[in-house]
């Protein structure tokens, strides 16, 4: 369990000192939006509006918001299936996200991806990936693309504490260091992979990020609930990526409040409700941030309520939008499989591409 939070050790970091009040408020708004969106999605999931999995990010919002806040035009983000937070943090609308959960044509992935597969390449957001650690070589590839085209940018590739034990992640680490690629692996360590505590899944020295030592990769570990700390440590890594084209592994401690997915019937068995309650009470990223802004005099309680109400309304409206949106037509099942077919190029017209009856 983390120690009681000190007043933000990293508030004086360069990248934080220069923050305008409006920016700080924006972080709060983003975190609240994520939480309210997810609460709404849970509600409508339980009402039978969605299928499949729903992995909620509640409790971890500061990481997506803090890291995304540093991203410029040439910085890119890719993550696993617990992707709603990152999607909203990069600027995707609640409407397109909620509609995706409903499987609607107006969803960000036209109802084809679902909860685990949100995408917005126009916002440098490359998904949303369901196979544990499967996104880690892709994140490396984004960095490869940047370096190949001599663009000064970084690829922020998120993964969970359980994902560090997949071989593809290690292969990626070796390549990242060997080829000096500007990728930042960000381990969101919420202490559990499904029902397995970190100590039952991973052998290590120091911490999970410390596995970087095997490859001589720079690494750091920090408190994930403190936006100041997330930003300060991520900024260092981004500088390393931008200026030296070097990879970094970051690890942020955090906590997911909900079960692994909505279908996690064991959510209250493998860890005690007290563990979560204690965290919520003392470390909740939204509370912590809200309290600092109150202390700093950047907002008052009323401002917060407004932000919160606006987020709730937005979430509710997104559900209405999703509800009222049409499902894709059955013929859409075979769209978006091949670029060349979709665009009816010469290549797309040659030969038979689909083989069902």
């Amino acid at each position: 369990m983390q120690e009681q939070i000190e007043t933000h050790k990293y508030s004086e970091a360069e990248v934080n000192k220069s923050l305008a009040d409006s920016e700080k408020i924006e972080f709060l708004r983003q975190m609240v939006r994520i939480r309210r969106f997810e609460e709404a999605s849970l509600k409508y999931y339980n009402a039978g509006k969605m299928g499949g999995f729903l992995h909620l990010y509640i409790g971890q919002e500061s990481i997506a918001v803090g890291t995304a806040s540093l991203c410029g035009d040439n910085d890119h983000i890719i993550t696993a299936y617990r992707d709603h937070g990152h999607a909203l943090a990069v600027g995707m609308s609640m409407n397109e996200c909620m509609a995706e959960l409903y499987g609607k044509k107006t969803g960000c992935s036209k109802g084809k991806g679902g909860s685990m597969h949100f995408f917005a390449p126009d916002k440098n957001f490359w998904g949303g990936h369901g196979i544990v650690a499967g996104q880690t070589p892709l994140g490396l590839g984004l960095a490869y693309g940047l370096k190949y085209n001599e663009v000064k940018g970084a690829s922020l590739c998120f993964l969970g504490d359980g994902a560090v034990n997949q071989g593809s992640f290690h292969e990626s680490l070796n390549l990242a260091q060997l080829w000096e690629l500007p990728v930042i692996y960000i381990i969101e360590n919420n202490g559990y992979s499904m029902g397995t505590s970190q100590k039952r899944s991973s052998a290590f020295n120091n911490c999970l990020a410390g596995r970087g030592d095997a490859y001589g990769i720079e690494w750091d570990v920090g408190k994930g609930n403190d936006i100041y700390e997330v930003r300060a440590k991520t900024k260092e890594a981004m500088d390393r990526a931008h200026n030296d084209s070097q990879p970094t592994i970051l690890e942020f401690d955090t906590c997911r409040y909900q079960g692994h997915s909505v279908a996690d019937s064991n959510a209250k068995k493998y860890r005690s409700p007290e563990e979560i309650d204690y965290y919520k009470e003392n470390y909740d990223p939204i509370n912590v941030w809200k309290n600092s802004l109150l202390e700093e005099g950047v907002i008052d309680e009323n401002d917060y309520k407004e932000i919160d109400n606006a987020a709730k309304d937005e979430a509710k409206e997104s559900a209405t939008f999703a509800e009222e949106s049409p499902f894709p037509e059955p013929s859409a099942i075979t769209d978006d499989v091949y670029f060349e077919v979709d665009n009816q190029t010469e290549s797309g017209k040659q030969g038979k591409h689909f083989f069902h009856d």
Partner: protein, 327 residues
């Protein structure tokens, strides 16, 4: 009489085999303390303890390869893949090691390993979680693949798989785990279903519906509807085992009905039904009154959209329509 669900039947088979043979060990993600992502191993860790039921990190290549190595030494691991879709990160181990080591050693080594887990679409978990790789594994000499459709067969095939001295991949189905249509009235006494034997699940005269896995349940419903609404008397053949394959039962049915429609959740190109169609046309050519037709998954990655995914996988209305196309 209390029916046993598919999930419970698997659980009973595993429990009994743990009792029957000390070398049997269950290994996989969340199989122990969590009781299994889909509760197939429910209660087994509590009953059998840490040694016999083992939780793993998310390292499929590592732990499945480990299981294969242990099986070479005589341990009999039953590995769970939370989804068979995750086989793709462990494929090298599952093909190059499990399937080839006996051959490459000239028969000196064998791998009595079972790898089991759900392999199906239809639950809106998206393209990466909805693969049905029975065709892919059955392509590989050295492997055995079974796809039980009922609790009875799930129980009997799982027991055969654990006792078999070759690698057997048991492909289950999340939709069948709790489906009353797949539940069975199991006798109290132990029994097994032999690997490599198909079963005629419904007798008929007009057309053979040949299927495996959940498509068998679809075929049975379709047969009922065809009977009631169209006066067509369909026979339903459940392959049960994909490799080895009971060609005899397939051919006998087609020779009787002279028509076949294959129902197959695989993607069509080189799916299991491609193989069955190729076999039927080759070996029952003169019995066929019309071409063998197929109802497969619509040929795209599994779509998330729940209502559309129900159209994507074989369903009763697509089967009924296809049977009528036979003319």
């Amino acid at each position: 009489m209390a029916l046993t669900l598919y999930r419970q039947a698997l659980n009973r088979a595993l429990d009994e085999e743990l009792a029957n043979d000390e070398q049997v060990v269950i290994i996989g993600e969340e199989v122990a303390e969590y009781n299994g992502a889909y509760k197939v191993t429910n209660g087994l860790w509590k009953k059998w303890g840490d040694k016999r039921v083992v939780d793993t990190p998310i390292s499929e290549a590592g732990f499945i390869g480990m299981g294969i190595g242990a099986s070479m030494m005589g341990v009999r691991p039953v590995m769970e893949l939370m989804f068979f879709s995750f086989a793709y990160v462990a494929l090298d181990q599952m093909i190059n090691n499990a399937a080839c080591v006996r051959y490459m050693s000239g028969g000196l080594i064998n791998c009595p390993i079972v790898i089991r887990g759900p392999a199906n679409a239809g639950t809106s978990v998206g393209a990466t979680h909805s693969h049905t790789p029975e065709n892919l594994f059955a392509n590989v000499p050295g492997l055995k693949v079974v796809t039980p459709a009922t609790a009875h067969d799930a129980y009997g095939l799982m027991k055969s798989a654990v006792r078999d001295n070759d690698p057997v991949y048991v492909m289950e189905n999340t939709l069948l785990y709790g489906d009353p249509a797949a539940a069975s009235d199991l006798p109290d006494d132990e029994f097994t279903v032999p690997i490599g034997s198909a079963e005629v699940k419904r007798q008929g005269t007009d057309v053979s519906l040949i299927a495996h896995g959940r498509s068998v349940i679809v075929a049975l419903e379709a047969a009922k509807q065809l009977d009631e609404e169209k006066g067509i008397n369909a026979e339903v053949v459940d392959l049960r085992s994909i490799r080895p394959l009971d060609e005899e039962t397939i051919l006998k049915s087609v020779e009787k009905t002279n028509r076949a429609v294959l129902i197959d959740e695989n993607k069509p190109f080189c799916g299991v039904s491609s193989q069955i169609a190729a076999t039927i046309q080759e070996k029952a050519f003169d019995s066929l009154d019309s071409p063998v037709l197929r109802v497969t998954s619509i040929d795209a990655p599994a779509i998330y959209c729940p209502p559309l995914e129900k159209e994507q996988v074989p369903n009763v209305s697509r089967v009924v329509d296809m049977v009528q196309k036979l003319g």
